[in-house]
């Protein structure tokens, strides 16, 4: 009977965490699946890599299989733009959350500065999402 590969023991609190990747925007498709803001919670390298691979597998299979699913009401292009707006809004909220950490958590001086910078960019990110959302118009108007 074939044997299973050796299982790497899970890391402990003092082991190096799973690194957050530096994403080359040109290769964004390699990072479909889970958000990095979700994956960063999984500091255990094995767990992080497993979820990353699962996300990639699901996305790849969906690309092959999506022809069997309902068509996008506004067409594929507008559908993708709406998804981008949704992800921009998520990040807008995430940065705003990091901004509030100055009041809600005990931070070092540098962390406080980082938190402040996050807050500074919330309006900029909101402006990007607003511009795209305004140009899109309501669902159905783009057909």
């Amino acid at each position: 009977m074939p044997s299973l590969p050796d299982r790497t023991p899970p890391s402990g609190p003092n082991d190096p965490p799973a690194p957050i990747p530096t994403i080359d925007p040109e290769r964004f498709e390699d990072f479909e699946g889970f958000r990095e803001t979700t994956l960063c919670v999984f500091t255990e390298p094995g767990a992080n890599a497993t979820l990353r691979a699962l996300g990639d597998l699901l996305y790849t299979m969906a690309l092959e299989y999506c022809q069997h699913w309902p068509v996008e009401p506004d067409g594929s292009f507008y559908h993708q733009v709406r998804a981008a707006v949704a992800d921009l809004r998520h990040l807008e909220g995430y940065l705003a959350h990091l901004d509030t950490q100055r009041e809600e958590a005990s931070l070092s001086d540098h962390e406080e500065r980082v938190s402040e910078v996050c807050g500074k960019f919330v309006p900029d990110l909101r402006a990007v999402a607003d511009a795209l959302e305004t140009a899109l118009g309501p669902m159905g108007a783009t057909r």
Binding site: T43, Y59, V71, A84, L91
Partner: protein, 133 residues
């Protein structure tokens, strides 16, 4: 499995105040899953995985550079992802389209640049140090 246009799952309108409800999969990934049942199943699974990891006790490695910096580094990675995604919506073939689609493609390309600027400033604020001794 239905192919009825009316039954397609569409990307949600995300209220930034409720961003925590949308942890898990990217919307750019979920938008491929237009069957509402499949889409909802993945959405719930993503949220469940996130909740169990963030609220449970574990002995996973601690972030050497601290929690806020670690979280911001993840946000920067997601910004770079979106920079690329918006850039792909605004690739040359799309930008040369006539009408509203072309307009939207050109806008996406311009906004990709703005997202890049935000990411670059945040990146420089973080610096290269990741908690190494």
């Amino acid at each position: 499995m239905s192919t009825d246009i009316q039954l397609a799952a569409v990307p949600p309108i995300v209220d930034p105040e409720d961003f925590h409800v949308f942890h898990g999969f990217r919307e750019t990934s979920l938008c491929l899953f237009t069957d509402p049942e499949h889409n909802a199943a993945l959405r719930v699974t993503g949220q469940l995985i996130y909740s169990m990891a963030s609220e449970g006790d574990n002995d996973w490695p601690t972030e050497p550079e601290g929690h806020p910096r670690h979280q911001l580094r993840a946000a920067v990675a997601d910004l770079r992802f979106l920079q690329g995604f918006l850039g792909s919506l605004g690739r040359p073939l799309e930008c040369t389209r006539a009408g509203h689609e072309g307009h939207l493609a050109r806008l996406a390309l311009r906004l990709s640049g703005q997202v890049a600027e935000i990411a670059a400033v945040l990146e420089s604020e973080l610096g290269a140090w990741r908690g190494e001794e």
